[in-house]
């Protein structure tokens, strides 16, 4: 799937390896949480880029001690209406100060991109026909924000107060 990062299409460093399937000799891998937990030591020992993919009901809290060993976390949207990952991403960035990639995967819409960006997602797996111009458009729809979030954009209240 095409991957957008920093507002542009980029090559994907990770290949998703379904549970039970052997890892390739080299290259980054994306694995499920259960696989990461059961094969943690060998995955880390291999020194390859690792992305852990979490289902919507998996709280990233369980990864907090391993975050320095994880290059990316993919948060899954089973359906765009399921908004749990908005909180998971924010928790990763704010509570655990996670600096790695947070990727949105699964079913999400153009209309959610700006919110996703605001809560700390920085990578997006999009549909084949997605046009990059749409990404910039989504980011530009609303000029101001009312609430503080991960993106540290100045809120309307801060602008009013001259901060």
């Amino acid at each position: 799937m095409p991957l957008i990062k920093n507002g542009a299409f980029v090559d994907d460093r990770f290949v998703f390896i379904p549970d039970g399937q052997a890892f390739p000799d080299e290259g980054g891998v994306m694995v499920t949480l259960s696989r990461f937990q059961s094969e943690r030591d060998s995955i880390i020992a291999h020194h390859r880029p690792v992305c852990v993919r979490l289902a919507a009901n998996e709280n990233p809290d369980v990864l907090k001690d391993d975050l320095p060993n994880i290059d990316a976390i993919a948060l899954e949207f089973p359906i765009f209406r399921d908004g749990r990952a908005f909180s998971w991403a924010r928790m990763l960035r704010e509570r655990f100060a996670y600096q790695g990639e947070i990727r949105a995967v699964g079913h999400f819409l153009y209309d959610q991109l700006a919110f996703l960006m605001r809560v700390g997602f920085d990578a997006f797996e999009v549909r084949q026909d997605f046009r990059i111009a749409e990404f910039s458009r989504a980011m530009a729809e609303m000029t101001y924000v009312y609430q503080p979030s991960v993106d540290r954009r100045k809120t309307v209240m801060q602008i009013r107060r001259g901060e």
Partner: protein
């Protein structure tokens, strides 16, 4: 009242553009109806039985004359000449065309209004006591914090895809006119022992198929922390509210399942985290700045009463009756709070025509009223009327067919649109409400019966708040036939309680008689000064049930 600055103004303009683009993509087929639905709902646009329905936010129920005129214009140009005030103090229009909705949003933006988050699984329009800023005994006007919450919750990036809708209400008096304990979050302004004002925070109230009175979660939350506290509650809910079953997805289910102590513990953990970041701290100066918008008008130093008022009470029995039911004491001497009933006998409860809206705006301009309020009981309120102006105001209201002297009385019925409009409904509610109004139309009898709150819903979703009615009526469908169940003893006020179901439903030709027998039973049993609610609480269901079913036990299913 609050005025938009350049930032608020740009926000609602851009929102109209954003929605225009969503509509374009839907019409071109780039968005499926399944994808479009949550997007249009976040803009208050429903697809109902006969047409679209657009819900306009009236934040904390406050409108200016200019806004009222614009609502009239939209009713005339885009609907069928009327609008409907709802129990969440919003305005609903039936019949708008999808392609024209973005234009309506532009017209609303022109007068600092919007439809943002009036539906969908997000934080909805925040409501407050409709007598805010006018009634005696208030700790402070609850609307400034409502405005702050409106801004904080609008386009909240984390909480726009919650498990289910989320409603917040704020009250600042001992009497609860905002039904705070029936909201997802209810806030009561209180003062602690140190003399500081803050909020008592309730979570998990609600109606629908599993009615609950809210649990006390925050005993005292300081003002500067309130947004952080709300954010903590929302986060716990977003993470752990059920998403597998729409009927169990509201926060009331999570909160009551965990219990107050465990829910509070989880909120406190999040609250500590959010506070550690400090970004959601509400600076006192910012609160002051917003409060300044809500400063009360400069009240004149008036005598307690006015000769014009006293003379009209003596001369006009209609006016005298209206002053008894529709006036509430004002905190300032020589003023009154006037409730404008939208329950004129023979009219759909909550409806107002474009002419009535324009007429109300004209009254506001002529008498210098800066604002009008929408109440969750589907009435309107002039919050600050000089007593000497009351006879003239009343005459103007009468000319608009808005002079019904029934506020708080048995014909002041809260009622959802029901099967006449809504595709969720199981039964019609408007025709039953109208028949009840006709049955009890005699004004003397209404006043003699005192405060009786009838609330009616056409289905289990309880938009008509039947659980909180002194007499609640629920329309149900039994094999294609409409039946109406009676509940007694509900209250949405400071003595909140969920009504008790009497038993099987009554047919549409039986329900009015059954209600009348309940009411007559009350009259025969009441102690001096006792309202129906209190009599019911004292004597219980049995005498009412026996009376209601006396001839119809066999007819009930």
């Amino acid at each position: 009242m609050y005025r938009y600055d350049e930032f608020d103004a740009k926000m609602v303009r851009e929102r109209a553009q954003q929605f225009r683009y969503q509509v374009e993509r839907r019409i071109k087929g780039e968005l499926t109806e399944d994808e479009f639905k949550p997007l249009r709902l976040k803009n208050g646009l429903y697809l109902q039985l006969h047409s679209y329905m657009l819900r306009v936010a009236v934040p904390y129920g406050t409108l200016s004359a200019r806004q009222m005129r614009q609502l009239a214009r939209i009713a005339r140009d885009y609907s069928r000449g009327y609008g409907h005030f709802t129990t969440r103090t919003n305005m609903q229009y039936h019949w708008p065309k999808l392609s024209e909705v973005p234009d309506i949003l532009e017209l609303l933006a022109d007068v600092e209004m919007h439809c943002i988050q009036t539906s969908g699984n997000c934080v909805r329009n925040v409501t407050a006591d409709h007598f805010a800023g006018a009634v005696a005994g208030e700790l402070e006007d609850p609307r400034p914090i409502c405005e702050i919450i409106r801004q904080w919750s609008s386009f909240h990036p984390e909480f726009n895809y919650l498990p289910r809708k989320f409603k917040i209400a704020v009250s600042a008096t001992k009497e609860d006119r905002a039904a705070v304990k029936y909201h997802d979050i209810g806030m009561e302004v209180i003062r602690n022992e140190a003399g500081e004002t803050g909020y008592r925070v309730f979570v998990g109230g609600g109606m629908g198929r599993t009615p609950y009175v809210a649990l006390e979660i925050g005993k005292f939350v300081g003002k500067e922390d309130i947004l952080a506290y709300l954010e903590a509650i929302l986060r716990v809910y977003n993470e752990y509210g059920r998403r597998d079953n729409i009927h169990k997805a509201r926060v009331k289910i999570l909160a009551h399942q965990l219990g107050a102590d465990e829910f509070r513990r989880q909120v406190e953990v999040e609250f500590a985290e959010i506070k550690r970041h400090g970004t959601l701290h509400l600076p006192p100066e910012e609160l002051k700045r917003i409060e300044a918008y809500f400063a009360p008008p400069a009240f004149e130093d008036l005598p307690e009463t006015a000769p014009e008022f006293e003379a009209a009470v003596k001369a006009d029995a209609g006016f005298a009756a209206w002053t008894k039911s529709n006036l509430t004491p004002h905190k300032a001497k020589g003023y009154a709070i006037a409730t404008i009933s939208l329950k004129t006998i023979g009219q759909t409860p909550g409806d107002a025509s474009a002419e009535q809206m324009d007429g109300l705006a004209q009254i506001m301009e002529d008498f210098g009223f800066a604002e009008i309020r929408v109440s969750h009981e589907q009435n309107l309120v002039f919050p600050h009327v000089r007593k000497k102006d009351l006879p003239a105001v009343y005459a103007r209201l009468q000319a608009l067919d808005l002079g019904a002297a029934n506020a708080g009385l048995i014909t002041d019925i809260i009622c959802c649109p029901g099967l006449d409009y809504c595709d969720l409904a199981n039964a019609r509610s408007i025709p039953v409400a109208m028949k009840l109004q006709e049955r009890f139309a005699d004004l003397e009898r209404q006043h003699e019966l005192g405060e009786i709150k009838i609330k009616m819903s056409g289905c289990i979703n309880a938009c008509g708040h039947h659980h909180a009615g002194h007499i609640g009526i629920l329309g149900v469908d039994k094999k294609g036939v409409e039946f109406y169940q009676i509940q007694l003893g509900g209250s949405g006020a400071e003595d909140a309680s969920v009504g008790e179901i009497m038993g099987p439903g009554f047919g549409k030709d039986e329900i009015v008689d059954a209600v009348e027998r309940v009411v007559e039973t009350y009259v025969s049993l009441r102690a001096p000064g006792e309202r129906l609610l209190e009599t019911y609480r004292r004597v219980g269901m049995t005498p009412f049930k026996n009376a209601a079913y006396q001839e119809q036990m066999y007819a009930a299913y």
